[in-house]
Symmetry: C2
C-alpha cells in the first residue's frame, strides 16, 4: 500500500471552503482505500489529508481524473501554503475497506 | 469525530516488532472508525498512526481496554521517542466505515 499524510494551510478564514472544494473531487477514485479530510483541532486555518492507496500508481493516476483535476483547480486559490508531505507504507488497520473503489 | 495523527520512532531495528505489538491490540475498539499503522517511507525507524474516532470519549475509553493496555505494555520498550501528536476534527472521506466497531 501507499500512504500520504499532508498538511495544507488555507487562506485565512477559508478553511471550510477549502475542505468542501477538496471533498467534491474525491469520490470514485480507483485504488483509493482511505481518504480522510480533517481540520486541525488547534490551528484555525490548517487541514490534514490522510490517504491510503492500493499502490503509488493508483494515486498518480487519480491526479488525471477529471473530477480530481477540477477539485484541484477549485482548491488551489484557497491554499496559502503546503506543509511537508509525508509518504508512508501502510501496514494494516481498520477502515481500509476499499470503500472508495466500489 | 475526533482524529489523531501520531509519529513514533522505534528502537533501532525494531520497527516491525513495534508495528506488530500495536496491531495486536487494536481489534474491537468501540467507536474506532479508522486506525491505520504505517511505516515512514524514508525514515527507517519511524511509524505513523492515523486514527479516527466517533468522539474523544471513545478514544479515551479505549485506553482502558485490556487488549489495548497489553499492547501498550508490549510496545513501550520498543519505542525510542514520540513525535508531536496532532489532534484533528475529521470532516469526511472514504474509509470511515466504522469497521472497527463491528
Amino acid at each position: 500500500m501507499h500512504g500520504l499524510i499532508g498538511k495544507m494551510t488555507a487562506v485565512p478564514g477559508r478553511r471550510d471552503d477549502l475542505i468542501e472544494a477538496i471533498l467534491q473531487g474525491v469520490d470514485d477514485m480507483p485504488g483509493c482505500v482511505s481518504y480522510v479530510v480533517a481540520s486541525d483541532a488547534s490551528e484555525p486555518d490548517v487541514i490534514w489529508i490522510t490517504e491510503v492507496w492500493d499502490d503509488e500508481a493508483s494515486h498518480k493516476a487519480s491526479l488525471s481524473l477529471p473530477a480530481v483535476r477540477a477539485a484541484i483547480a477549485r482548491a488551489r486559490p484557497l491554499i496559502a501554503s503546503f506543509g511537508p508531505g509525508i509518504t508512508t507504507v501502510p501496514v494494516a488497520g481498520h477502515g481500509l475497506g476499499r470503500s472508495a473503489a466500489r
